[in-house]
């Protein structure tokens, strides 16, 4: 088809002006001639179709129609081929399509960035939540050690007060606890009773009650803290140890790299006080 297109293009350009009147004259006399012939169009059509005659006109028309059919089929085939849908497109159409694609890409890019930002924010916030949760757990443990609701272990000292004469009273033990606290004791237990901020010591005939739990001599203190601070604090002249020994009690203080304070106190929900921090 393309050959037939281009070949006659040069040859027939001179005939172009003549063609228009020719086709006009070919169709103009239609009205005049229709009534004239006795043979009808339908008969002529049948005559042309059958029997087939290899006349010159038929052959030429066949060649032209071959070209037409060929071009038609090629065009339809290339048009229905989605792959080459852009091949026949004009330049401005291609530019438009390209622009549209660019716009679309831009929009999708923007959307992607927005979504990424959102994802980052969510990740950050979940990280922060995780961090806050960790800190809270950590703090809960620390406060639990202070409040005596969790067991604790670490370096520290043991102090055993053997009171055979029954002369040791609650205030002496309280002095010992105060001294230990002042020296940086972090967790204290006496004979299986945890000593916390609200611990009270009372005398109860010949022995001592800690938080209402009666304990008997010997009083064994387990204290977690820095041993180098705790031991001298007890042994200073005029300090706890000397005072107790004056009352004929035997006091032994020993350092240890691992003290386990496993006496617990139940966490008590305050009745009136509420946390004021949010």
């Amino acid at each position: 088809m393309s050959n037939e297109d281009e070949q006659p293009e040069n040859r027939l350009r001179r005939e172009l002006p003549e063609e228009v009147p020719a086709s006009a004259s070919a169709e103009a006399p239609v009205a005049e001639e229709t009534p004239a012939p006795t043979v009808t169009g339908r008969q002529r059509l049948v005559q042309g179709l059958w029997p087939p005659r290899a006349s010159r006109a038929q052959l030429i028309v066949a060649v032209l129609l071959f070209g037409l059919g060929f071009g038609l089929a090629v065009q339809v085939a290339s048009n229905s081929n989605s792959d080459s849908a852009l091949r026949g497109a004009r330049q401005e159409d291609l530019v438009r399509i390209l622009d549209e694609l660019d716009d679309r890409t831009q929009r999708l890019e923007d959307e992607k960035q927005g979504l990424q930002k959102q994802r980052d924010e969510l990740e950050n916030s979940s990280d922060q939540a995780e961090e806050a949760r960790k800190q809270t757990a950590e703090k809960e443990k620390q406060l639990g050690i202070l409040a005596g609701t969790v067991a604790a272990q670490g370096p520290g000292i043991t102090m055993t007060i053997d009171d055979t004469k029954g002369t040791v009273e609650a205030d002496m033990l309280l002095d010992a606890v105060q001294e230990l606290r002042a020296a940086g004791a972090e967790a204290i237990q006496v004979n299986g009773v945890r000593v916390v901020a609200g611990t009270y010591l009372t005398d109860s005939d010949k022995s001592v009650s800690v938080d209402g739990n009666k304990i008997n001599a010997p009083y064994r203190f387990k204290v977690i803290g820095k041993p180098q601070d705790l031991e001298p604090a007890l042994n200073i002249p005029g300090g706890v140890v000397q005072t107790l020994e004056k009352e004929q009690a035997t006091v032994t203080v020993g350092r240890s790299s691992k003290i386990v304070v496993d006496a617990l106190r139940a966490a008590k929900q305050p009745d009136y006080a509420r946390s004021s921090s949010r």
Binding site: L16, E19, T40, R44, L45, L49, P52, L64, F66
Partner: protein, 110 residues
């Protein structure tokens, strides 16, 4: 009959061969096909009218194709290719319809 055979053979050959359309010819092929269709309908009508002349048909066929391609080419050069080819298709479509009407009158007498 041979002419109809030629058309059929052409379609079959186009389907079987599936040639790559050269890029230069690509924008003109559809318009050229429509123009050739117009010439074929004109020729058919002339045959029914009994005034068919093979020379006139050949010249009108080829010139239709060439003029249509030329108009599209010019339109592309002037930057109105899309509109001009639409116009050509519309004009050719109108001619095809009027020819088809004449053919119909001959064949069906209606």
């Amino acid at each position: 009959m041979i002419a109809v055979l030629g058309l059929i053979v052409g379609v079959v050959a186009g389907i079987l061969v599936r040639p790559e359309v050269p890029v230069v010819v690509e924008p003109y092929l559809p318009i050229a096909v429509v123009a050739a269709l117009d010439a074929v309908f004109g020729g058919l009508r002339a045959m029914l009218d009994g005034i068919f002349d093979d020379k006139v048909f050949v010249v009108s066929f080829l010139s239709n194709v060439v003029v249509a391609a030329l108009i599209v080419f010019l339109g592309d050069k002037l930057g109105v290719g899309a509109q001009l080819s639409t116009g050509v298709v519309v004009v050719l479509g109108i001619r095809i319809f009027s020819n088809a009407a004449a053919i119909r009158r001959h064949v069906f007498r209606a």
